[in-house]
Symmetry: D2
Subunit: 368 residues, 4 copies
């Protein structure tokens, strides 16, 4: 119950610290009969790997995943899938100074308050390396969704004040630039912006957006486990994310009902939605149209500028942090957001199999 478990049917349990032996995840409730090899997972892990551009931490990690259980002859068996990624680059260094320091924007003080002490090496459990487990589990969820016709596209919508122009949208280029922008015109300005920040030892944040197509109508639960409620939970549980929106999001708060309601129109004989302010769901349940979600990511708190901080004793200190850090975490977080969405959607889709007497008769009475 300490909150390292997510999902009700497709249940993922994650573990691991930044500077321990490794990180991993156990997936309980993966349907049997899915074709699965390590490469299926590795491709997504590679998307969050450090060291891929000048705009992320140079920490050197292969992040090679091993499947330890739940797969037999390249097919899932229905039993728990245990995935393990060893930490390679957990440099032995002197933490004497850092162990009593509470870095601004980090969870150092919160962990000490919670547990009485903490693993102070590189953030321990609060490190971004924890998201490896999310990405790995989500890769499997996404493979199942894909087989059922559900497709996710996720990208950086903005970094700092630089925002994509929808008119330039090209999904194919997302992983061909270091920022995961679907807009090629934004790449150069962003390089300039980040290089300036790197130079001064500063960092940036941004917004990630995900669009889901092909999800059947009817997915999501009516009250607490609304599709949007669980997506918000999944996304806001990723470190550094400070806001979540569905469809028009906070923009909807300024529209009238007449402006915000999604009307229909006849488009050459097809009845289609004129707008999608709802972001593909009403009452917490998918309506079969495109799902749109945004996540707001704060700037990396690890900066090299001097900061006024406190230490464990409560004294004011002048803090200068060394070490390797991402000047912007947004691009590497794109796949984390996408895969947490995949886990959430699959879990709710699996729940849907138990909701109608008709479904039960189809599966157990050969009434199909």
């Amino acid at each position: 119950m300490a909150g390292s478990i997510f999902g009700k049917i497709f249940t993922i349990t994650t573990w691991g610290e930044s500077h321990g032996p490794g990180v991993g995840v156990v997936i309980d409730g993966c349907p049997a009969g899915l074709e699965l090899v390590e490469r299926d997972i590795q491709l997504d892990l590679n998307k969050r790997r450090p060291g891929q551009s000048p705009f992320c931490t140079p920490r050197d990690e292969a992040d090679k995943v091993k499947i330890l259980s739940g797969v037999f002859e390249d097919k899932t068996t229905g039993t728990p899938i245990s995935l393990l990624v060893y930490n390679k680059d957990h440099r032995s260094r002197d933490y004497t100074e850092i162990m009593d320091t509470y870095r601004p924007g980090h969870a150092d003080m919160a962990y000490d308050a919670k547990y009485g002490f903490r693993d102070y090496r590189g953030g321990g459990r609060s490190s971004g390396r924890e998201t490896i487990a999310r990405v790995a589990a989500g890769a499997i969820a996404k493979k199942i969704l894909n087989e059922l016709g559900v497709q996710l596209v996720t990208y950086t919508k903005s970094i700092g004040h630089l925002t994509i122009n929808e008119a330039n949208f090209e999904a194919s280029i997302i992983y061909e630039n270091p920022f995961r922008f679907p807009d090629s015109e934004l790449v150069e300005p962003c390089e300039e912006y980040l290089n300036a920040l790197i130079k001064e030892g500063n960092s940036a944040g941004g917004v990630i957006e995900c669009r889901v197509n092909g999800l059947p109508a009817g997915i999501g639960q009516p009250v607490f486990d609304k599709l949007d409620g669980l997506l918000a939970h999944a996304i806001m549980s990723i470190g550094a994310i400070k806001g979540v929106e569905i469809g028009a999001g906070f923009g909807a708060t300024k529209m009238t009902g007449y402006e915000n309601n999604d009307f229909y129109k006849d488009d050459h004989g097809h009845i289609v939605k004129e707008s999608n302010n709802a972001g593909g769901m009403t009452g917490g349940i998918s309506d079969g149209s495109e799902i749109i979600i945004r996540a707001g990511v704060k700037a990396t708190p690890s900066i090299h500028l001097e900061q006024k901080a406190i230490n464990r004793q409560g004294d004011l200190i002048d803090l200068v942090i060394g070490g390797r850090h991402d000047p912007v975490i947004v691009p590497r977080a794109v796949i984390v957001v996408e895969n947490m969405i995949a886990v959430t959607l699959l879990d709710l889709l699996l729940q849907q199999t138990a909701t109608q007497m008709d479904y039960l008769k189809k599966l157990f009475k050969n009434d199909a």
Copy 2:
């Protein structure tokens, strides 16, 4: 698992439809020994009751709560507390037309897709009356939090384009104006704005903000059940909410790390935070400072203007909705948001009792 249960230790299970006999909630895991009478709950229910101003639905409901279990001689016993509110005003009318209509912004189509059919009387389970159960449960959670020194203040931050001026902030007036504004200067402009919308049969949305003080540092879990993750879940699970933010929220995405990190300063001998962009939590765990949360509420989808909609058969129709509706749901949702936050905070606070060997020895070995 159909998502009508929320919380792990302080667990609330809600039930009820708009036009059924009533709505209610069962609270399992309420600590024993809390003084509790119906009035403690009724005061909060009155805050969301309809019919209190010209700016909400005239549906006439006393919303009187009954405690059916779990309380003995005005003290909680530790066993489940069952709360029941009968529906009074479930007018018998002709729903023939509505049963095949999918109202824009409503969950009609989603429910049909999910279950194969739906209770079409007034929204059924997707009605705002479902939130009575949330408010009732939250009133109890809040009473416990209050006894432990935790205080919540929640209010309307904006309606449409009208936003409060922080300089005018007065907590005492929140429940003395129909909009739940803490800024008296906004009341008259808002009346004018809404009267104009009511006249044309339109509606508005807005933003709700909550500030929590007195929560100890250390509350929240490190990974999926982060304090912000669960708050996002709790709030986004309320109907009509399309966005959630913590602290600087989406604003943080445009700041640099140096701007966003909360530094400390010496304030006449006290070490205090200079800013609170983090909104009182880092790494998903409270840091002991003020918690700040915002919820974005869309405009009421029930408007009287003609809308292009579809019916169950998929045909395009011109829809005009009659009946009683809130021109803006924000003011009545303030207490719903507050009480869902209370439930979430209490649940995480109760989880904290099992996290340290020192706590266990204090409770079970008389080591205090």
Copy 3:
């Protein structure tokens, strides 16, 4: 989490005390589209009602159930079903003496230790009236199982030393005798045995057995949520039950592997099991054959003979209990055991809908 919730998909939350306003249950996750009226539930509640024979408590309770939500036009909607039974006969009497007494075999002392105090009126939450909620929820589970071809037969196997003779087994007479025996020859001896115990103010226990037919093979989970693990949980959670067995049960501990393994034989061209020591499941998963479960019920602890007990202060006292009690609880517990088994089987059957890629394609890709 305080343990008033059972089941993962078909989730039941119960509430209520012996001498409060009533008892009830909320069922979340009931599939939509089941035909359901109050009478479906009432018939099972009548089977546990008191006052039906000289061999149970004369407490007068109609135990009339009301459906408060989740059913529309006599069909389940998929949303929570709230069931309520008011307590009628909660006589006002003087509990001054009882409030400080710890009755042997009762939970008085345990509740005081757990919560610091207790609702001492008639056992409060530990009263047998709590099982009304189990029976009501189970009636719905059983109706679904029946529609899918699963049948349960449950009966008293023994009372004290009187045990049924399998050769006399007649399912049709179970509810035609006050003891729920399927063996008519045992009725008269049992009347004599119990009349003698009633005369001296004493009580008896016994064994309940349930046989389930028609459950598909493949139901149950491999490790902790084995079919037998969950059945043991469900049954042992009923007050007064001190033992649970599957198939040959403790008898299997004295057999060799060769004796205990269930072999097959050719029976006029059909391959059938020669024995069923496994009780219909191996590895925690049903094998499609008959399921056999037994529950051991202790004698009613409320007896009228003088007992050496203690009080709240820890003093030794001579206790004589008055009031109305069941001289044997076994017959009334038969339907409680049956319906908890039904809840457990249905929950696991619903879980099975999410276990195979083939099922998912059948439901979501029209691959049937």
Copy 4:
């Protein structure tokens, strides 16, 4: 939700197959500040290791445990503890014949029915190697219980018809004989009995008993999560166990209320219980006295005698199983039962920390 997770606060998630790379467990919710090294866990794993006597399988496994997370400087941090044991002796052999055979007493057929196919190498997930994860997690739970003054003693009560004589009870010899008997007089007869069975290729079952002392009164939840309910769940979820009893168990079904109720007496100035038929709990909650639990274990289904079985195609076949097997599983299961009990007790004890307003004030208001 596929049932590889157990416990609500101290939550264990297990994974692994008999012939995969290894088996393991993730423990979420372990309190911070417990001193823990691998040796603490290894000592218990050694108690279930194969190859220790002529009376268990000669499969050669070191069963060396590795701690992969959640421990820092030999203390638990409060974050998930991941434990891993590699499988060493997963011999490559030809399974062509076995893959279509349904072995009597095994889960072969049930797994095929559940998932559509199965990992047929040595039982896969249904293998006894799955219990390594239970033992490892339980070792940690037991260490915490021990620090809080709770002690468990578990032993073989009977093998076949050979039952211990209480008068000979010596806890110190349990791990000094291959059968885990606390009665030295039973060792030689048991050797003879088992040698005879081994000679004919047959096997035996038996009964395991556990006694717990030092558990505070008040542990356990009132309704579904009764102490006995959860113990029954925990124990019956172990493979090969067909029955569970608390205190007098099935014996209580033949006693009268007067015989079964536990009376008190004055023993030289101390008020003590005269008997303990309740096994240390009433109403599902501990009463502070000794807890007594028994588990009935069936004979190992893997025998070398010819058996009438069926194959995947449903044909009757004559089956002779080769390979290495335990002639009796009882002795190796003793530590499995003990450690599952430890997990269950600790989880309920941790739940108790959130049950009283007084506790909350003690922890959060410095009211101690």
